[in-house]
């Protein structure tokens, strides 16, 4: 199987990314989206993103994890690498009584046997007042959904995962001291 594909040889390219402790982080500089992926992304925006604010059109190179942890230079695809970064870069999960502030991270997690799985990570851009007086403030985040999507600004809970059939929760993580 894939005999002809093997003839292309390895074409993946990565760059040096390390945690604060110096552990290498596996990564992949992704190719740009083709016409089909751009077309599908337009439909994705129509389906899920009526209230999203576009920041950037579809492009390759990085995914959400590459956006927040590798300065938009590469994609970090494997969930083990996300766990490594959270552990070795001094992140901690916010307590229930703590509010996120700009530049904290919103991590979208789905339940799984063993360790929870990661769906997405986004950077908190600002925390806006809620709709009603005295209601809870709402974080707005910047997201690059995957390695070929565009970037958008959106309300932290305005994500497609529920409609895609996922049970998920949002965790806030920060590198601020406790």
């Amino acid at each position: 199987m894939f005999e002809e594909v093997k003839l292309l040889g390895p074409t993946e390219r990565s760059i040096v990314v390390q945690t604060r402790r110096g552990t290498d982080v596996k990564n992949l500089v992704e190719l740009d989206p083709g016409p089909r992926e751009r077309r599908v992304y337009e439909r994705y925006l129509q389906n899920y993103g009526r209230n999203w604010v576009p920041r950037k059109p579809p492009m390759g190179v990085y995914n959400c994890a590459g956006h927040v942890w590798a300065s938009r230079r590469t994609a970090i695809l494997e969930e083990e690498e996300w766990r490594l970064i959270l552990r070795e870069d001094g992140y901690r999960r916010l307590r229930e009584d703590e509010e996120p502030v700009p530049d904290d991270l919103a991590v979208y997690v789905y339940p799984s046997r063993g360790e929870a799985g990661f769906l997405h990570v986004a950077r908190v851009l600002e925390v806006r007042a809620g709709l009603a007086p005295g209601s809870q403030k709402i974080p707005w985040v910047v997201s690059k959904w995957d390695s070929v999507s565009g970037e958008v600004l959106h309300h932290v809970h305005d994500v497609p995962y529920g409609r895609q059939g996922f049970e998920f929760r949002v965790e806030y993580w920060t590198d601020r001291p406790a």
Binding site: L28, E30, L31, E37, R39, E78, W145, D146, V148, S149
Partner: protein, 168 residues
């Protein structure tokens, strides 16, 4: 039916529904719940399609692979990997191992989904060993879903006999 259940994997509707998940683990999870994947598993179970049909489908979509461009049917290949994760055939083994060993930027996501499937396939083999009692010949058979072999052990308790044979 055979063509339809596979061809829907290449549709824009399918791509939008599976759209833009960031990790191979979450994409694998999505496909395990997807009705399109369930339909293919059912078609295989009913023998409306076979491993040979899958092989032909994969070969046909791979004609669209171009060096230096993202492969447009990655989701279809990734979905097939999820279909084959729990299928105990030589083709499933060959497909998952060969795909997971590739290092192509053009197919980055489906390669990693195949690696995820292999991880879980190994776990499945370890976790879901079944013992089938065969009273007429006094042997029990241990079977694991991703291991195309059956080992026999004697039930008598005095003499332990082990042998391995291939599943037909």
């Amino acid at each position: 039916m055979s063509a339809r259940v596979l061809q829907q994997l290449t549709s824009d509707d399918f791509a939008v529904s599976a759209g833009f998940l960031s990790t191979p683990g979450s994409l694998r999870r999505f496909f395990h719940q997807a009705k399109e994947v369930a339909a293919i598993k059912e078609a295989l179970r009913q023998e409306a399609i076979t491993d040979s049909t899958l092989r032909g489908f994969v070969s046909s979509v791979l004609r669209d692979l171009r060096c230096g461009e993202r492969f447009p049917h990655q989701l279809a290949i990734a979905a097939i990997a999820v279909v084959l994760e729990t299928r105990a055939t030589d083709f499933a083994d060959e497909f998952l191992h060969d795909l997971s060993r590739l290092g192509l930027a053009e197919m980055s996501m489906c390669i990693r989904v195949a690696r995820e499937c292999l991880k879980h396939r190994v776990n499945l083999a370890h976790n879901k060993t079944k013992v089938l009692r065969l009273p007429d010949d006094g042997f029990s058979r241990a079977w694991s879903p991703s291991e195309p072999q059956i080992s026999f052990k004697c039930n008598a308790g005095q003499t332990s006999v082990s042998r391995v044979c291939e599943v037909v």
